[in-house]
Structures are given as structure tokens and as C-alpha cells.
Amino acid sequence: MFIHWALREIHLKIVYYGPGLSGKTANLQYIYSRIDPTLKGDLVTLKTREDRTIFFDFLQLEVGNIDGKKPKFNLYTVPGQVHYDLTRRIVLNSVDGIVFVADSQREMMDANLDTLLDLEKHLIISGKTLENFPWVLQYNKRDLPSAEPVEEMEKKLNFFGVPSFEAVAPQGQGVFATLKEVIKQVVARAHAQLENRQRVSVQ
């Protein structure tokens, strides 16, 4: 998180993480399509010729002033394909909150878990861990006939009991609910850390 006190800006970085083709870019595309043009920048997508994310997608959005402060949310996706491991680590640099976009198709359960473990590996390198970091789960592609029951996905992926959302990202279902929750988690954690810091300093 970066606080630009002179401009009263609060910058948060949210990264959409998940296996290839799970719908990370679709989340950003829906958000971009629905937001008031005065509150968003351009949607930047760095893709291969085959239309797959090679580096990241990026979208900055704002909300109105809050007590004279301007929160700005910088949303990124990572490339999901296995061989872009190093690229994912670069995009995770200084991340404040994560949306893990899981693919609900039954045959994707191993890929979901592998990617979640891959995320934990990258977080640990920067001194973080999923156990005490703001993140939420999104079970995307709920409209597909081969979708695994949510209860099963919860057992397989949500071992820390983080907030989870069912979604059909291209249609927008669950997209905003997911984003709102991860932002709330990030802010609540920052508040808790600042309060603890103050408590320790007065002891």
C-alpha cells in the first residue's frame, strides 16, 4: 500500500491469481465495462498472439472521496500458464490483496490446487503467507455442466476459511461482490496492524 499524503491518495494493489483460462481477465473486463468512465483508466492487456495473457492486465479504478482521501485500486491479473512462473512473482511484488479465481470444472481441481500452492510459494518468498494475508476465493464458471459442487471446492481449496464467491465472470455474476470483499479485507488488515502498532508503542 502506498499513501501519497500530499495528494491525499491511498493506492492499493489487488492481484487476480488462478490457473490458465480460469477467468481472471474476464473479471477485469466486466469491471471495466460497468464502471463510470470518470472513475477508471484504460484497461491495459499484455497478450500473446493467441490472446493469452503474457505479462499482466491492468486497470486502475477509483471511488469518490472519503473524508478527503482518494482511494485508488490498481487491479492486476497474472498469466495463468505454468511456464510463466517468474512473471507471476514479478506481478505479485508489493501486492496488498489477492483474488484467487478457481475454475469450477471438475477436471480443473488439480490445476486449482497446484496454482494455489504456487501462490503460497511466491508469497513466502516475500515474507507473506496465505494464512495471514488478505485474500478471497472466487469459484468461477458456475454455469458449466461439469462444475464441481461448491461444498467440494470449499473442502479442496478453502482450508483457511476465507470469504468465497460463486461467479460467472463474463456475465458479471459474483464479480463485484468478490472485489468489494477483498478491498474490505485489505483495509481491515491495515487498520488492525496500525492499531496494534500504536498499542505496542504506548506500552
Binding site: M1, F2, I3, H4, W5, A6, L7, I10, H11, I31, R34, I35, D36, L39, G41, D42, V44, F56, F58, Q60, L61, V63, G64, I66, D67, K69, P71, N74, L86, T87, R89, I90, V91, N93, S94, V95, D96, K128, Q171, G172, Q173, F176, L179, K180, I183, K184, V187, A188, R189, A190, H191, Q193, L194, E195, N196, R197, Q198, V200, S201, Q203
Partner: protein, 181 residues
């Protein structure tokens, strides 16, 4: 009194008004000496900290900062793979009309200079080096100044933010109906 260490990693950097003014002055001096098109100071997650852009030029600094910080982070990984002990000292993009010079200030900040191809690269590097030395004396350390914002994200802020998010992130009426169905 028991001494306790408390680690707060939620806030990477906090920039005060005084620091912003000092940084802006450094960038203004550099812009004046070089006559360049744009100078930006960005942090490692790609946010613009300060900028000086020629008034006749239109620049999306948000996206430029994001792309530059990412490309610089990619260069750092390249350096690591090649066995370099630190990042490349600079990254240069040469264009038909403009060049982009990126140099690390410290582990948290980079300096971006966009200049017309007629401006000598040597001169850009020389003055950039001097500016970086000045910036190092005014940039905040990690965690510096955080004690002034202990109540920034209090319950009231969180509640107002929730209301603003509800106002901004709204599904279309058709979508709401589909969800209810």
C-alpha cells in the same frame, strides 16, 4: 518496560507533503537542465510518486508508470538469472522520436526520463545520477511516518468506503434480476 518488535507490512510507503515538495523540486531542476519531455518518479508497485511533464504533452502517467515498473522488475529478474549481483543500472528504450531511460533510485523507487532523440544520452545519464543522489536524501524509508496515520482506516472510514464501493460497483438492473431468479 518490555521491548516488543511489531512488524507492519500493510503500508509500504507513506509520502509526506514536505517530501513530495522536495522531490518535485528535484524533478523540476532536472527537467530544466535537460529540457526533456517528461520525468517521473515511480515506486516498485508502479505508482507515480511525482512527475514533471512538458505542458504541451499528453501522457497517461498511471499506465506508463505501471508498465515501466513491471519492465524494470523483469530486468531485475534477468540480471539475477545472468548472475549479476544487483539490477542493471539502467534500462533504455530507443524510439523514433523519443527515448525512455529508466534508472533505479533505491529498492523502492525508479526514475523515468522521457527525452527526444536529439538529447544526448550521456547528458541524461550524468544529470540523472546527480538527481538520484539528491532524491536519496529526501525519499522516505519504509514505514517512515506511519505513526501519524494510526486512525486512517478506522471504523468510520471502513463504513464510508463500503458505501462508496456499493455506489461505484453496481450491477445492471437486468443482472440483479438474473441473480434473484
Amino acid at each position: 518496560m518490555e521491548t516488543k518488535e511489531y512488524h507492519s507490512d500493510s503500508i509500504d510507503t507513506m509520502l509526506s507533503r514536505e517530501q513530495f515538495e522536495d522531490i518535485s523540486e528535484c524533478l523540476s531542476n532536472l527537467a530544466e537542465k535537460l529540457g526533456v519531455t517528461a520525468i517521473l518518479l515511480v515506486n516498485s508497485s508502479g505508482q507515480t510518486v511525482a512527475q514533471k511533464v512538458r505542458s504541451s504533452w499528453s501522457l497517461d502517467s498511471t499506465i506508463l508508470s505501471t508498465l515501466t515498473a513491471s519492465s524494470y522488475a523483469a530486468a531485475k529478474e534477468m540480471a539475477r538469472i545472468l548472475g549479476e549481483r544487483s539490477n542493471f543500472r539502467m534500462v533504455l528504450h530507443e524510439g523514433e522520436h523519443h527515448n525512455v531511460y529508466v534508472s533505479s533510485v533505491n529498492r523502492d523507487f525508479s526514475l523515468i526520463i522521457i527525452f527526444e532523440t536529439g538529447v544526448a544520452l550521456g547528458m541524461v545519464r550524468l544529470f540523472a545520477k546527480k538527481t538520484i543522489a539528491q532524491l536519496l536524501s529526501v525519499l522516505p524509508e519504509r514505514g517512515e511516518g506511519i505513526d501519524k496515520i494510526n486512525h486512517l482506516f478506522d471504523r468510520r472510514f471502513q463504513s464510508l468506503l463500503g458505501e462508496e464501493l456499493d455506489r461505484t460497483l453496481r450491477d445492471s438492473p437486468e443482472m440483479k434480476k438474473n441473480h434473484e431468479d
